[in-house]
């Protein structure tokens, strides 16, 4: 009842909704970079939103299924193949034991999620199964390496669905386009030190193209764009930062903090990316470009609510479809 890693990816780890309640001790929240994709992969296989999933960057790990499983891939499309057949993302799929899942090319996005029905067994450390890849706790206490074995919580046999096939793609899927490709904007609200930027730089923040540099990982994404200048020098005293915080570095470049961010920071916090656009931002690859757009907190909250409502609808629809599927096979 497990999967075995037969080829390691560049950065694959077990993540869930994140480790909260310990940031006052300097323990960072970790958690899925794209929480919408992680939640959808879980809904598609009948799990709760915060069940731990496998998060992969490209090149992703090659997995061998030693056991039947119901799985769903979401977020990035890495051209996943089961044995020699391409399989779609955002779609529940039965996979037979003794099959290989591999990822062939990055077609869309930066980070892929794999959920399995019932969930994976992994270590719960300080109320979260997210892997802290710095201190090697939580999840499977490390990134996925060759020969790592991850067991499933449920032992299942899907022979009645699969018969002699190595996989079966169920006839329903989630359309996640709204979360990612509606427009080219990443929206933000003003940060505490927004006014440290001079008028020109405030203008440039919104009216120039930024792109994600090759320096991007689970801690943060460095951005490439015109240098931003300060209106005045500010003596900074460190305070807490959060996922989506945009910091202005001394050289005028900016960095956006992501899931593995340090808990505190001493650079001016010029803006915060809104929650509704964090999944879209997380899925940008190095070289991808976009525009920032400033909105106010009320608009940010409205958009956040909309996302939560959409996720709720997806969850309910998935539940309904799963019940229909079970009926049709019984």
């Amino acid at each position: 009842m497990s999967i075995k890693i037969i080829k390691a990816g560049v950065l694959s780890s077990v993540q869930d909704g994140g480790r909260y309640g310990y940031q006052h001790l300097g323990i960072n929240p970790c958690g899925a970079m794209d929480k919408v994709a992680a939640a959808i992969s879980n809904f598609l296989v009948g799990n709760d939103a915060s069940e731990a999933v496998i998060e992969s960057h490209f090149p992703a790990s090659q997995l061998f299924f030693e056991q039947d499983a119901l799985v769903a891939l979401t977020g990035a499309d890495f051209g996943a193949m089961i044995n020699d057949k391409l399989i779609p993302i955002n779609n529940p799929i039965f996979i037979s034991r003794n099959t290989v899942l591999q990822f062939t090319k990055p077609l869309f996005g930066a980070i892929s999620y794999l959920a399995v029905g019932g969930g994976f067994n992994s270590e719960n450390w300080l109320n979260s199964n997210s892997t802290d890849i710095k201190i090697l706790k939580g999840g499977i206490q490390n990134i996925l390496k060759k020969n790592t074995i991850i067991t499933f919580k449920n032992k299942v046999c899907f022979i009645k669905f699969l018969q002699n096939n190595d996989s079966l793609i169920l006839k329903y899927s989630v359309n996640s386009k709204n979360f990612y490709t509606k427009n080219n904007f990443i929206r933000f609200v003003e940060g505490i030190e927004y006014d440290v930027l001079n008028i020109n730089s405030k203008h440039n923040l919104e009216n120039q193209n930024f792109s994600v540099s090759s320096k991007n990982d689970r801690m943060g994404y460095h951005l490439i764009g015109k240098i931003l200048n300060k209106e005045f020098e500010l003596e900074m005293i460190s305070s807490a930062v959060t996922k989506g915080t945009i910091q202005l570095l001394p050289n005028g470049k900016i960095i956006v903090l992501m899931s593995d961010h340090q808990t505190t920071g001493g650079y001016p916090q010029i803006a915060n990316i809104i929650s509704a656009d964090l999944p879209k931002f997380a899925q940008l690859k190095s070289g991808d470009s976009f525009y920032f757009k400033k909105i106010n907190i009320e608009e940010a909250e409205e958009l956040h609510e909309k996302i939560l409502l959409e996720l709720k609808n997806i969850k309910n629809a998935c539940l309904l479809k799963w019940q229909e599927t079970q009926k049709s096979f019984s």
Partner: protein, 235 residues
Amino acid sequence: MYKIFSLGDSAICIQYEQVISQTLHANIINDYEKLLTEKFDFVKDIIPAYCSISIIYDFEKVKFISKKKSAFSFIKNWVLNCLQKTITPKIITREIKEIPVCYHKTFALDTENISANKNISIQELIELHYSKTYHVFMIGFLPGFPYMGLVDEKISFPRLNSPRNFLEAGSVGIAGFQTGIYPLNSPGGWNIIGKTPLQIFNPNLSNPCLINSGDQIKFVPISLSEFNQLNQHEH
């Protein structure tokens, strides 16, 4: 006095006067404990720092209560209400935690440099460091890393221009007027003057950090042989 800012749509920051002061920080810790007492399940994290307290909240849970009202103004009001409460001004007499430090030259990578630049003897530098009780202003940077202060002006010294790629867990350093302890092996830019044999961060304990924000810390000088006896670090 303080101002309240949003930190995006799921966090809020209470910002106090931007100074490093033990009196101000004692008030901040007092406010922090008020917030902890009143804590609801929409609160995910409360993070006190030098002159701020940040609260990370669960937007969905807040909206469930605040209904039509914005989550930000709901949380802001909640904070204002909490902080106005004068109840239980429980004077927290925190005991002084003693942390043994070996200042032997094996560990003291930067003592000579500080001593030469600040024109004081190595012995005086060490004595100035352990003779004072320090206040913990913040835990951050790494799990369990305490930002303590303030060190005597005679031994205050700016960070290294380029951080070292590797420092051992337990290394005790100085950066400006602050002193700190590296809880893990890590890159780092602080001036290292000694090492504690204690494990500052142990992920296998239910309470993994030895030092908390608001604690009082006193360093106790130990010899190299005492260090070896007490050493809790992995070899």
